[in-house]
Point group: C4
Chain length 247, copies 4
């Protein structure tokens, strides 16, 4: 019954939360870009607070309707941190992965197809969000990252582990974003390589099987012939025995 | 019938398009290197326009002779972009991969052999084209990349994800080239690793199979001996029965 | 009997040595951070010496109670170096991996689960220890690494092979720490990729097996039907033979 | 007969050539380090020429004693380049890999063991040789690499694809060495990852097999019981038939 309530809530808020995440992304980006031009957007500020309210309500409702509140609370400390700490605000955009899950349904049921769609989507989202977040942290400081273009370029250079060093964060928050991106980069290399490895291993083993299959067929034929020979010999012997019996 | 027409067109333009790509590469390189020396090559300019015409005609003919034009149009938006946008001009050199496909026929039918030939060819081509394209974008700007030698060196440092930072692009177009190279670098690491992994997994499993085969042979021998014993016992019993029958 | 003595010693010092490692880590960090502020901590200095004594005693006892001392000595030259050389002092913290082994027991017996827990733990420990060690080496030199925050940031940038170049070691000891971190980085990429590859290969092969299983079931059914048909035909023939025999 | 001659020559020069490579390495290093201190070593120069003579003679003898000279010449163009071009001189040290092959015999016959020994040996040799070669190329130029310590540090930073950018080559020869090191770095990441992947895949599959084996044993037991039941039923039927026959 508790599980029922949770599942119904999940279905009810799936789209509202995703739309809230999109709206939040736009407002968050507007806010940061406005600050870049030295002005402040009161509307964007208000929208960020409203979407925050939606996520906070979702958190509270989930905590209330769950069966074992203490256990749920401990297992969802990250969710609490995302709602409370302004620094973790960009993580609210993880909601977007729900959209990816929906797009994925179209990518068929193959493991590799789903991994590819998810990886591309998550990588692009991570780069965009990390670009915004690092700009938010670095703006007005003495570091080299001071506009969105450079921030996105830096995010790309970091997630691919190239790291030219023409741009780098100097604030604690900016460096935390960088650490997240670097971990994402290691994971990205890992996923690309693993998917390719799985594909090559499969192709090579299919190749080997084709060769083995031909060998097997020849071997099977040889066995069949040998058995036929045995059957003939046997039937001959049995005929002779019968003849000798008759004789 | 439509498929027939497309296949015939493919065969008819295979070599002309590949030659057009080679000619375009030479003209494109000449144009950029001429600009490096502060002069302009009218001939190279003309040749670039002629090869562009060939690619544009190929695009239009394909659109006309295909069965489902709307579907083809949507699935080939990238081809349209390559023909129309001057920024994507270097991508016309992807035509070269056709040559790789021809060279590959000589590399035998093994999956790994083909992957290796294709990877080396595509990597060298990518480095050369990216070097030209980044020079095209950065020339005359305040960035550090100002001659072909440095551009190729930068392309190498980027595709291997080393990223010293002694050279880096500062223009939007140059950074787009860099993003392409970085993605290529991730793919390169992935392919090299996956090919090696496939090779090592195969060798290790062959090793295991050799050991298993010896065990299997001993086991087979044991079974054979056991069956022989059973046959002997059976024949003895049947003989005794016959003797007792006779008796 | 010798093996018994060694095992008993292992069990007896497991916790004392782990606690000594924790105490050493705190004292070592205090010492370096005190130096950062231009002061010196006599207490931390004393504690570092006491924990050193504990590790030295452990080394000597192990050398004494082992069966083949010469062989043990040669196989444990690294242990000797860690005890004697102040430069290798941070390696005493490898003792922490014992704690990881204990945490691991909770991660279940699955290979991948254990690999993940161990990798995360060892990576975080390596970054922290390398940060301290590089600060120890670089402090007071002309290099850019002069406080713990920058040292940890540098360690992260290095182990992920990003390498911006905003911070880098300039002393021999600092560079040795960097070499260790880089090797750790290569290993980290390798482990992440390999774990993902193993997971994807398994998922893809499970997918293939499900498809193969259905095919196999149909094939099995076909065989069963064929055998049934043969049995029927045989029994019919034998019946006819018998009838003709009777006739 | 030709093959015999080649094999005999191989055996005859195995040790002389390896020793020549060691002597060449020492002389080459001395020469570069002497130049670093502004002096020149006439002895080292002479030794480099003598070892060059040995490699040249080896090349000529091999060309003479081979069966199909034209084919051998085309397949060994790299060997010719190494002997003739001073720039490729460091590649003569590839001879060292023969020593690795000898050490390897001690590492047992396991594929992974041999791969690990070879990778570590080849990586260390590559770093050392690349350090010397880049110093040889960069010395006296305006680049940052001006002593062996920095050159080795740079080689390490490059082969691990970290690439801080505190040191980088500026000459064409130095950049060629860097390109070789970067390719080595990609290969290194690939080999480490592939070896780990092979190991994890094996462990995980062993785990799965243990579980499958238990299932199989239960299944086997069930089959045995079923067969026993059938045998019993058959023997009963045959007994009844006999009895009815007797009756």
């Amino acid at each position: 019954m508790y599980g029922d309530r949770v599942a119904r809530w999940d279905r009810a808020v799936e789209w509202p939360l995703t739309i809230a995440a999109v709206v939040f992304l736009v407002a968050y980006a507007t806010q940061i870009l406005a600050r870049e031009r030295g002005s402040a957007s009161a509307v964007a500020e208000a929208v960020v607070w409203v979407t925050w309210g939606i996520f906070a309500i979702d958190y509270i409702v989930r905590l209330v309707i769950t069966e074992n509140r203490r256990r749920w609370f401990i297992h969802h400390l990250l969710d609490l941190a995302i709602v409370i700490l302004p620094m973790l605000r960009p993580l609210r955009l993880m909601r977007f992965l729900t959209i990816l899950a929906i797009i994925q349904r179209g990518a068929g049921s193959m493991v590799r197809g789903r991994v590819i769609v998810y990886t591309i989507g998550a990588t692009l989202l991570t780069i965009f969000v990390a670009g915004l977040a690092v700009l938010d942290a670095e703006q007005g400081n003495h570091g080299p990252i001071q506009n969105l273009g450079d921030a996105l370029w830096w995010a790309f250079v970091t997630i691919t582990t190239v790291g030219y060093g023409d741009y780098f964060p100097v604030t604690f928050e900016g460096r935390m974003v960088a650490v997240g991106l670097m971990i994402g980069g290691i994971a990205l290399i890992g996923i690309v390589t693993a998917t390719l490895a799985s594909w090559i291993v499969e192709k090579v083993s299919a190749e080997a099987k084709t060769a083995a299959a031909t060998q097997q067929q020849v071997e099977d034929l040889r066995t069949e012939v040998a058995e036929l020979k045995d059957l003939l010999r046997e039937s001959l012997t049995s005929k002779q025995t019968r003849e000798s019996d008759i004789a």
